[in-house]
Structure formats: structure tokens, C-alpha cells
Symmetry: C2
Subunit: 161 residues, 2 copies
């Protein structure tokens, strides 16, 4: 597994991963009708956003973002987003991307990492972040309408670096 | 006290209120160096954002925003931001703006309201939102660097409608 920064050339492979995740609407509170250009702007081109990809046997298997969660007096807290190819789950891709985010945030001088909206029914993600040291510091009840589970909570997860 | 929707003509009065709050950096995680055009874009012109003003004896004494907190499967949760003229504090301006936000969110079909980042040392705001029925559902520890208090928490406050 290799983690490296994403380039514009990676976009087709990233869109292949991201599109079904957005359309499924099970783990991200994003517009399910978001088109490719909207997704590209969201994932790849934001100011101050670092985008990485995970390569497994030479193929892109997942992608992550890292950025300051807030401006000004909140800019010492990082945040991040993760998407893993559904066909490559269970191979440690999310974990490798998460460990890379933590290392990057520490090196960049952030004091903590906050995930603002982890869907509580996304058990693999909740378990992964816990195993990397994140704690659930709060849950917004019913803040996510899961397509099959109905209204479920969004966890705020936090790691002090 | 009259609460009404803001117009472009209100901007000079709003900037008079907003500027010292941004510069003080005690209650909002915004870039303290944000210029007037940046503040105008932030406060007045966002897509899908409803901006209101509170008039007290014919003068603008405060302003608020209301919007969907997230997209897609999170868009049933509203959020809002509030700024009150420091010279007009203690006159019920924040409360009137908050009550108006709650009424608007209910009417617009939102199911709840989430405030993502209430600075824990901002005691008047925390007390006001509690008195309107909001609960603290979590706190991100040390997520805000207060200019005089140091690292303090950011509360996530939530009201089911």
C-alpha cells in the first residue's frame, strides 16, 4: 500500500470510487445528485485542502482529504474525509489513509483532528476511528436520514494529537 | 423590536456590527483579517441562506442567518449564526433573532436545528440557547483558541423541532 498526494490525472479513478458513495447516500450528507464537476470541486480543488490516494497493487483503492476544520481561532483543529472503493474494503485502505492523515496533521502543527459527521450506522468507520484513538465527543440525534435505516445520529469524533 | 429579512442596503449597518465581532475573535472561528467583501460574502450572499435583521427603535441592533446545516441526507437539520451589536446587548435582541430562526426552521420543514460551534466561554449565548430548548449534545475540547482564555471547548447544541 502506497499513500501519495493526488494529482489532477487521478480524477477518473477517484470519480469511480466517489460516485457510488455519493449516490448511495449512506455515509455522507452530500447532494446525491451532485454531478462530476461538483464532486471534483468538492474533493480535489478546495483551497488549503490536501488530497491523498491509496494505491494497492498499483491501483487506486481509496482517497482522503485533510484540511483545517475552521478558520481563525479554530484553525488549529484539522478535519478529513475518506472514501474507499467498495470492492477494496477490508484491506486496510481506510486505516492507512487515516494513519497518514494523523501523521500529516501532527507534522503540520494541528493540535487535534475533528470528524464532524460520522454516520452512527457506519460501524466500520466508527470502529476504525476508535481504534486510531478517536473518541465520540457528541452525537447529533437523527441528523442523518439513512436511506434504509431512517433517521440516525451523526457522531462528532475527536483526537487530541 | 422588529425582525425582518435583510436587504443589500442593510450592509453598512451589518458591517458595523459584524466587524468588531470578527476582529475580537472571541465567539467565532473566522479569519480575524477577513475584509469587508469577504464578510459580506460570508454573511449576506450565500446560496440558500436567509439573513435577518433585528430593528430596535428603528435601528439595526443585530443580525442572524439561517440555512441547512448539511446537504443531501443531512438537509433536514437547520443551522444559524447570530451577531448582536455590543452596544445593544441585554435588550433581548439575540433572543428575538433566535425565536425567529426557530419559527422559520419549523415552518420551512426542518426537523431540528444544530449549532456547530458555540464557544463554551460565551456564557450569554450558551444560556440563551438553553433557555430556548437547545441541549449541548457534545463538546470539542480545546477546539477554540480564545484570545484571553486560551484553548476552550466548542459546544454542539441541538434542538429537535
Amino acid at each position: 500500500m502506497v499513500i501519495r498526494e493526488a494529482t489532477a490525472d487521478d480524477w477518473p479513478a477517484l470519480w469511480h470510487i466517489i460516485r457510488p458513495i455519493i449516490e448511495a447516500g449512506e455515509t455522507y450528507a452530500l447532494d446525491p445528485a451532485m454531478d462530476e464537476e461538483g464532486a471534483r470541486r468538492y474533493w480535489l480543488l478546495g483551497e488549503g485542502v490536501r488530497t491523498t490516494v491509496a494505491e494497492l497493487d498499483g491501483e487506486i483503492a481509496g482517497t482522503a482529504n485533510g484540511y483545517a476544520n475552521r478558520q481563525g481561532n479554530g484553525s488549529h483543529v484539522a478535519s478529513g474525509s475518506f472514501m474507499v472503493d467498495a470492492d477494496k474494503s477490508g484491506k486496510g485502505v481506510g486505516r492507512a489513509l487515516g494513519e497518514d492523515l494523523i501523521a500529516w496533521a501532527r507534522e503540520a502543527g494541528f493540535r487535534s483532528i475533528q470528524f464532524n459527521a460520522v454516520v452512527e450506522t457506519n460501524a466500520p468507520a466508527v470502529a476504525l476511528w476508535k481504534s486510531l484513538g478517536f473518541e465520540i465527543v457528541g452525537t447529533a440525534p437523527g441528523a442523518f436520514e439513512h436511506p434504509s435505516e431512517g433517521f440516525v445520529g451523526l457522531h462528532i469524533m475527536y483526537l487530541e494529537l
